[in-house]
Subunit: 233 residues, 2 copies
């Protein structure tokens, strides 16, 4: 197929944007970004996707993540400048601009389609929560959940309940192996709740996750917190 001219590319992309299509481009380009940070990308062959919701994605031949992008809600503009096809995608709050300047465009196409389906996903933290609420003895025999998302001055606790002795228990759930950050999070909730309740109240903190790192375990014991192994299943 012959390489489309910058003007032809401009027309294809403009129509794609107007018709709420997914528009894709492939070619040699320079990419400049300015907004929350600043970036420059020298010449190379990349794939660009424009979505009808205002998303822009620039992909190289490597990696899961786009090398540059613009989030949903942006306005895409196209023009021919110095005989080159130029895409400019902008938004405000925050002010951000993505500029893609093509030396050559090998491919430009519009794709119309419909997609009404929602992704159904399992194995999330919410699934682990359901599991614990269904079988509280996974945490320990005698544990009774009293609330989920209970608010504390430090944030909402995943599961709040009490143990066999009536002591308050704060549970932090993670769908995967945890490290220091999750322990710190649990500790924040526990100390916040201890200050919130009476001074003499004991609040236990239990981290429920598939596993812990060494450092995570050290921080747990240093803070008098506990760990229970469990997976979302």
């Amino acid at each position: 197929m012959a390489e489309p001219s910058p003007e032809e590319v401009c027309t294809i992309v403009r129509q794609g944007i107007e018709q709420n299509a997914i528009t894709t481009l492939f070619g040699r380009c320079l990419v400049t970004y300015s907004g929350r940070a600043e970036s420059e990308l020298g010449p190379g062959d990349r794939h660009v996707m424009l979505k009808p919701d205002g998303t822009a994605l620039v992909h190289t031949d490597e990696g899961h993540q786009p090398v540059n992008w613009q989030p949903p809600g942006c306005v895409h503009q196209v023009r021919v400048e110095d005989e080159q096809f130029v895409l400019e995608s902008t938004r405000s709050s925050p002010d951000e601009t993505l500029l893609v300047r093509f030396e050559s465009v090998v491919h430009a196409a519009r794709f119309d389609g419909s997609d009404s389906e929602e992704l159904s996903l399992s194995g999330t933290e919410a699934d682990l929560k359901e599991r614990i609420l269904d079988e509280p003895e996974i945490v320990e025999p005698g544990f009774t959940p009293l609330a989920t998302e209970r608010e504390t001055p430090a944030g909402a606790v995943d599961i709040y309940g009490e143990d066999d002795d009536g002591a308050a228990v704060v549970i932090e759930l993670k769908r995967r192996r945890v490290g220091p950050d999750a322990v710190g999070q649990l500790n924040r909730y526990v100390t916040a709740l201890e200050r919130d309740l009476h001074a003499d109240a004991t609040v236990r903190g239990v981290l429920v996750a598939p596993s812990v790192t060494d450092r995570g375990r050290q921080l747990l014991s240093k803070n008098g917190l506990e760990f229970v192994a469990a997976e979302p299943e």
Copy 2:
């Protein structure tokens, strides 16, 4: 352009994989994922990209993120099954499989290219660190940086130094507005260092970021930590 047959699509994609090209598809498909979690996606029109590094991306017409994907390092296999083009992308450790079954394929193409350029990015936390090291008085007059990435039992401290009085100072840097998590992180480092040094040693903790949330500020004061406003610039 006529719609390619499943066999034709299979050939195009197989060649793309063999030739280390970026391969793209657009059409009506079902997507199943199984691995770290499980997901199902009913029929709809989506864009699929296969990269030579083993990445697979399935994009709907909305959102920055792919609705399904497979990370770099996966093996892509293609076949025709029940007169439908099927893509299966797998990896081990962890075992993960992405299955895309196309009812129809509107577009299939290979793109060869080269990209030797690295993204140059500024406005990162590393830039903020350089700024503080260049002008320590941004933190406060008399502050002297002594080390970066200083190790503590709780992790590495961004900048470690001492103030005018010779007291130890731990600095945590963030390139953007901070909340409870960053405060918790700083607090972990401070308490770890207090136990590491002599019992009577005072360790100050300073969070350096463009701004703080209310809850973040409350947690700072509750833990006796400080805040200094600064941006990467």
